[in-house]
Symmetry: C2
């Protein structure tokens, strides 16, 4: 009998495949099954001996899986899957619609308690590691300001928006933090910075043959919500160049807390930053670490929904408490 | 009756005074008493209405204090005070002799369990926030390397060593991280870097009248353990300049994790850094946040020694779980 943490993946897209790769890096975990909405016979996993099961048959896997990692999207998948799976399994998800987190938490909490499971929601880097750093630094420096910058990285939503513009064949959008705004955030002057001031947007666009490039550029730059509030650059390139230079999914960002202590005369800056070659693979790596925590909490009799704020760091590591104190403290 | 967390300070030096200032920034905490080895009548606190009690009379304060913050030194004070106080109070300390943490933990754990108290040891920034970041980043990127850099900042131990050199009237030493080594750490090549390669040392020395400056410089640069393994610069300056420009206690540093995911083709860098005007005031701010956690754990029936690894982030914040999810997740 295996003593490894038996993990299931629900949804086999970029995140699901990233979780599969992350499991290979964590010898105390093993991938047991992939759940999919597609015909299971058409899904080929990287890992030998993994069951592929239709998502409608999830309940049949109840006794074979310790933690189910939900790899669906936040817009339509997770609001349904989250509570539904939390009743059957310990779950981890990366729900990232910030404004809807409170109601999502409540729905997952009720289901997880009903099923006596542990569900850790909104795991990843933002929400996730960035959230933790906002919390730690605010708790340490209560008199101060915090700043979150994203990038440089591909924004999926903005890339999709570009591709919907008439005459556009393909496109990618990079969100770039402003050096000037970053310097201001760290200066100690605690400026108010708008999202526009903090970021610029750079687009790489492949125009369809004969399309009006000037019109495309104008449409992108004036697009409300997505681009109109930003300094936006539009570069037209060939499909070959887009494929060659812009097919990866890099991302990253910075959480900066600037605060004062004493009688206000001493200034401190806490900074956390990520520079990621692959946004989905990094997110997946965070998910697997939190699967370990969910497994341990559930084994310990805990249940209900949790966020990353509720998880003691030690629960994420395969090392024992003694090893951690000796090697990392 | 007050509903604030009633805090005691044991040891009224730089850290003790920093804790007093940090308590003023945290409205859910209040300073109740300062314990001192000096004659209590000679100690004047900044806060009105605070009892000053001789450390030998600590037991008399048992019912008046929720958490005692131990502000003694790690070399001789804490190995005795830690276990002694853990039997009487919930405690927080900043024990920082890395090699002795395992045995210190055991001693405090036994005492805390005997007294049914919670004691969080080795709180601050290293050990402390840096340790947490080593843990999180290693759990997320198990295939990788981590690097801790200290500085730019005053090293108390090295400054003391300078002042013991014959002919030296006064001196301060800055530990400075090497830009080149930092770049290598972030490059993804995962180099092996020695402490010498990672840091340089800069000394500001006031020589006594008529002292042999060349001999002082040679003695400092060749001093084993402290300087002989480093690129060391010695600058002779006047006492006035030392007082004016080098009397603060700045410090900081970097924890960098460089790791790979996927099939090793995607590289990621996680970086946490601190830039502190006042090392003791920042450390004290961390101690007070963890005092809140100790109070909550003890109220919840927990007991024994803990490290920062065992403390869920939410326990550090005065905000409710709902507020945290809404505002910071």
């Amino acid at each position: 009998m295996s003593s490894k943490i038996r993990i299931g993946i629900a949804g086999y897209g970029n995140i699901g495949r990233g979780v599969e790769l992350a499991i290979k890096q964590n010898p105390d975990t093993e991938l047991v099954a992939v759940l999919t909405r597609r015909n299971p016979e058409t899904v080929k996993t990287l890992t030998e001996g993994v069951k592929v099961v239709h998502v409608d048959d999830a309940a049949s896997m109840k006794d074979d899986i310790d933690v189910m990692i939900l790899c669906g999207g936040s817009a339509t998948d997770l609001p349904v899957m989250g509570p539904q799976f939390a009743e059957m399994f310990n779950t981890i998800d990366s729900f990232d619609t910030h404004a809807k987190i409170p109601e999502y938490f409540e729905a997952v909490d009720a289901a997880a308690k009903k099923g006596n499971n542990v569900s850790i929601i909104s795991v990843g880097w933002d929400p996730g590691m960035f959230s933790i750093n906002r919390l730690y630094s605010e708790a340490i420096l209560p008199e101060g300001s915090h700043y979150t910058f994203w990038g440089k990285g591909i924004s999926q939503g903005h890339s999709d928006a570009i591709r919907r513009v008439e005459g556009v064949q393909d496109g990618k959008q990079y969100t770039i933090p402003s050096e000037k705004a970053m310097a201001a955030a760290k200066s100690g002057s605690e400026p108010n910075l708008t999202t526009r001031e903090k970021h610029t947007r750079e687009c790489f666009v492949v125009a369809k043959e004969g399309a009006d490039k000037a019109a495309i550029e104008k449409t992108i730059k004036e697009m409300p919500n997505y681009f109109s509030d930003y300094d936006t650059t539009v570069n037209f390139i060939s499909q070959e160049e887009l494929n060659e230079k812009h097919s990866k999914m890099p991302h990253g960002g910075f959480v900066i807390r600037s605060g004062k202590t004493g009688n206000g005369e001493n200034h401190h800056v806490i900074e956390y930053s990520l520079k990621l070659d692959s946004n989905p693979e990094f997110t997946s790596s965070v998910l697997v670490a939190y699967a370990r925590a969910a497994y341990r909490l559930a084994k310990n009799g805990d249940c209900g929904a949790k966020s990353v704020f509720d998880i003691a760091p030690a629960l994420l590591s395969p090392k024992s408490a003694e090893e951690l104190r000796k090697e990392l403290l």
